[in-house]
C-alpha cells in the first residue's frame, strides 16, 4: 500500500517536473520485523541509519544497481507495536524506502520488510497544504462545469511557481526575459534581485519582477560573486518554462531599432 503526495504537472508546467526529481521527500513508513526485537535496539539502529547511508537500488529498479550514497535527514520513531514499527523519515531524492527497511532488518539481524508507505512530502508539496484526492479534484471540475464557479478548481490547481518554493531565485529585468525564453544565458546586468545561498553550478529559478517563472537554470557563479560583479554570465537555462513572446524582444537589435519600435 503506497499512498500520498504525488505532484502532477499540467501542460507547460511539465517542463518544471525535474525539480521534484532533485527534491527531498518525507514518508510515513510501517515496517514489519521478522522476529521480536527490544525497542531500545530498534531505536539505536534507526539512529545509525540517520545521516549518510549507502544503498544498492533494488533488483527491479529503474536505475543502475550500483551502491549509492544517500542522506537520511531524519528518522522519527513514532510507535512500536509488537513486530510492527511506525516511523517518519526525511530523505534525499532517490532513496528507496523499501530497501531502507530491508537494510534495517539486516542490521537488526532479524530481517524486516516495508508493509505500508505514505509520502507526506515531495519537495515543496506536503499532505497538509492544497492536497486533493481524485474525487475532490473531480468535484471542483464539476462545480465549474455545472455551476459556473471557477474558484474551487482554481484553488486545486496551483501555479507552477509553487514548484520553485525552495529553489533560490534570481529576479530579472523585463528586457532580459525574452532572451532567456529563447535559451540565452543570463548576464549579470539583467539581474535586479537575487537570493542568498546560490553556489556555483547549483539549481536556480529565473523569475520576472511580477513573480512569474521564466526558467529553471544552473548557476555559473555564487550569490556573492554575482553581487560583486558588473558583467559576466550568472546562469544557464536548463529548462525554459515561459513561452517566448510573453515579454517584448529586446535582444539582437540595437538601441536605434528598439527606439523606433516603441515610438
Amino acid at each position: 500500500m503506497v499512498t500520498g503526495v504525488l505532484p502532477i504537472a499540467l501542460e507547460d508546467a511539465t517542463k518544471a517536473i525535474q525539480v521534484f526529481l532533485l527534491s527531498g521527500k518525507e514518508y510515513l513508513c510501517l515496517m514489519q520485523l521478522h522476529e521480536d526485537i527490544a525497542e531500545e535496539k530498534v531505536r539505536s539502529i534507526l539512529d545509525e541509519f540517520t545521516g549518510e547511508i549507502y544503498q544498492r537500488p533494488p533488483l527491479r529498479a529503474s536505475v543502475k544497481r550500483e551502491l549509492r550514497k544517500r542522506t537520511i535527514y531524519k528518522i522519527d520513531l513514532l510507535e512500536i507495536d509488537g513486530r510492527r514499527v511506525l516511523f517518519k523519515v526525511a530523505c534525499q531524492a532517490g532513496t528507496y524506502i523499501r530497501k531502507l527497511c530491508s537494510d534495517i532488518g539486516e542490521a537488526l539481524g532479524c530481517g524486516a520488510h516495508m508493509k505500508e508507505l505514505r509520502r507526506t512530502r515531495a519537495g515543496p508539496f506536503t499532505e497538509d497544504e492544497h492536497s486533493y484526492t481524485l474525487h475532490e479534484l473531480q468535484e471542483t471540475k464539476r462545480i465549474h462545469a455545472e455551476e459556473g464557479r471557477e474558484e474551487p478548481l482554481r484553488e486545486a490547481v496551483r501555479p507552477v511557481e509553487e514548484i520553485f518554493k525552495y529553489i533560490p531565485k534570481i529576479y530579472i529585468r523585463d528586457s532580459a526575459v525574452d532572451a532567456i525564453c529563447h535559451g540565452a544565458r543570463l548576464a549579470i546586468p539583467g539581474i535586479v534581485q537575487i537570493e542568498t545561498g546560490i553556489d556555483c553550478e547549483s539549481p536556480v529559478a529565473i523569475f520576472t519582477l511580477k513573480g512569474e517563472v521564466v526558467a529553471l537554470a544552473k548557476s555559473e557563479l555564487s550569490t556573492q560573486d554575482i553581487l560583486g560583479a558588473e558583467k559576466g554570465i550568472a546562469a544557464k537555462p536548463l529548462r525554459v518554462i515561459m513561452r517566448p513572446g510573453t515579454y517584448p524582444r529586446e535582444w539582437g537589435s540595437n538601441q536605434e531599432q528598439r527606439r523606433s519600435r516603441q515610438s
Binding site: 499512498t3 528507496y96 523499501r98 537575487i194
Partner: protein
C-alpha cells in the same frame, strides 16, 4: 544535492542588486492568470490512492481536467517482488 539538511529548511535572504520597474503590459502575476492559462501553468498536489499506479492516476487527472498533456514528479509505487507486469520502480518509490 548532498546537503545535510533538507532543502525546505534552507533559509534565504533577498538581496537587491539594482532597482527596476516592470511593465504592466507584459506578462502578469501568477494569481491573475485567466483560468485557461492557470491550468496551462498548473500543478496538482494529488493525494494518491493505494491501488492504481502513479501512471494511471496521472492519466485520470489528465482526463478530469481535459489537459493536453500532464506529467508526474517522483513515481510512488509499491514495486512488489514478483509482480507479474515486471514494473520497474523509480527511485523515491517504495
Amino acid at each position: 544535492m548532498t546537503e545535510q539538511r533538507p532543502i525546505w529548511e534552507a533559509e534565504r535572504e533577498l538581496k537587491i542588486r539594482t532597482r527596476a520597474e516592470t511593465d504592466p503590459r507584459f506578462g502578469m502575476k501568477p494569481e491573475a492568470r485567466p483560468l485557461q492559462e492557470h491550468i496551462r501553468l498548473g500543478v496538482i498536489n494529488l493525494d494518491k490512492p493505494p491501488n492504481p499506479s502513479s501512471h494511471q492516476v496521472t492519466a485520470w487527472v489528465k482526463k478530469i481536467l481535459g489537459a493536453s498533456h500532464v506529467g508526474h514528479g517522483g513515481t510512488l509505487e509499491a514495486a512488489r517482488p514478483g509482480r507479474p507486469d515486471g514494473h520497474r520502480s523509480a527511485p523515491d518509490s517504495a
